[in-house]
Amino acid sequence: MFFLRSIWLGAIATGICLLVGYPLAYIISRTGARVQSVLVMLVMLPMWMNFLLRTYAWMTLLEDNGIINTALATLGLPKLHMINTSGAVVLGMVYNYIPYMILPLYSALAKMDHSVIEAAQDLGANQRRVFTKVIFPLSMPGVISGITMVFVPAVSTFIISKMLGGGSNLLIGDLIDMQFLGSAYNPNLGSAISLVLMVLILICMGIMNQFDDGETRGGGLMI
């Protein structure tokens, strides 16, 4: 139950991060050098703020009497119930981890030789074909490392689900937390769940690494 929900929500969040992050990474990689470095800095800046504070800010935005609902009310629109839903948890995951998707995608796309695209166009490929046959395959290392860097923390989070999901959207991380520092004190069970989570993620990583040449991941992305 907890496992399935965690994996499901984590996968949705990772998918949204990829869909939203890819176009942005592509746009950034095609701008001029000066604008490029400013935009990359803007992507990183939120990561330097404590993620508890940023998630807390979403609480104030999403609450039933929060800022979004106040704004909707002044416009005469009906209120939306957003906080304490699984949608809010996914939103929190996307918000917190999307820079980890954009940055590796950007570095893969920026390294790409632009003349390859022109060559494909010269050889008669239309825009869609250029993307599916040239750009996307060449950015694959970035896609892989982006997916792993978002999926692992998203699956194992317990703060986002606690703050934005109320008590009803508990994830595997919350279950572990409860066994150690929470109400259901049982370190043995907690350790067992942790081990299963770890093995699960290592298996995922192993599968992912089959697509990767292994040299480009991690390091340098944080700064």
Binding site: M49, L52, V152, M198
Partner: protein
């Protein structure tokens, strides 16, 4: 197409920055009710309260002590480990060691936190009656920071010409002198990057600290305990100050990089 991509970029950045702006705006809120969504005038009172709050200041002090000590130790450990790893000739053994080094970075943070907590509790109990606190926090932070230092020093070692070290020895340096005069200056950029990374990771860490802190408060832990109650806007004031500090640092770093780049280009231009 150009307009569309500008609009798209704007929308994504709006999503990224909306919560941060909300935090900043409400740090100036002049209201007694601690309301999170009604803005009732400008005031700096939460900033004044912030500096009088002993709990926050103590937590900040703990966070900084831990970050400085952990970053320093992790930098030394990580650099030494990187040099050792780089020296391993057997390819298979080196790959193994690299995987072991990378494991803590891939591992979910909550699992790292829980396992460190169990280890510390076990050791503390067998030593008799010790409890978790500053020491366990520092040890935990050193543990998760070290791989990042290794990872930023290793590429610099690989880039370095191995003959430099041999040449220094041929010219009469003993190995220690050759290391400090030749190898260390070459890999210094990697060491500095690793140290900055370790420092920021340590300051920002919540999950691992949460499990290994005992009753000691660090800033993220204190923020967490505040978010569970009705939160005082002091927290907004604090985050605004942190945000401005980070922004300031990043702008300085970027300006310096741009200046260095320009200087280098000019130098290359003169030489050619």
């Amino acid at each position: 197409m150009k307009v569309a991509s500008k609009v798209y970029t704007f929308l994504v950045f709006l999503f990224l920055y909306a919560p941060i702006f909300v935090l900043i705006i409400f740090s100036f809120n002049d209201s007694d009710t601690m309301s999170r969504s009604v803005f009732s005038g400008f005031s700096l009172r939460w900033y004044a309260r912030l500096f009088e709050d002993r709990m926050i200041m103590d937590a900040l002090k703990n966070t900084l002590i831990i970050a400085v000590v952990a970053a320093a130790v992790a930098t030394v450990l990580g650099t030494v480990a990187a040099i050792g790893l780089n020296g391993i000739r057997n390819k298979w053994v080196r790959r193994m060691m690299m995987n072991v080094t990378n494991l803590p970075m891939v591992n979910p943070e909550i699992v790292t936190g829980v396992s460190l907590m169990l280890l510390f509790v076990f050791v503390a109990q067998s030593l008799g009656g010790l409890s978790l606190g500053m020491l366990s926090l520092i040890l935990a932070h050193i543990t998760f920071c070290t791989p990042y230092v290794v990872l930023s020093v290793l590429p610099k070692l690989r880039q370095m010409d191995p003959h430099l070290y041999e040449a220094a020895q041929d010219l009469g340096c003993d190995p220690r002198r050759a290391f400090f005069k030749v190898v260390l200056p070459e890999i210094m950029p990697g060491i500095v990057t690793g140290m900055i990374m370790a420092f920021t990771l340590s300051i920002d860490d919540f999950i691992i600290s949460y499990f290994t802190s005992g009753t000691t408060q660090t800033l993220p832990i204190y923020i967490y305990s505040m978010t569970r109650k009705r939160v005082s806007p002091e927290i907004n004031a604090l985050s605004t100050l942190l945000f401005v500090a980070v922004l300031f640092l990043l702008v300085i770093v970027n300006l310096r990089q741009a200046r260095d780049k320009r200087a280098q280009e000019r130098k290359e231009g003169l030489e050619s």
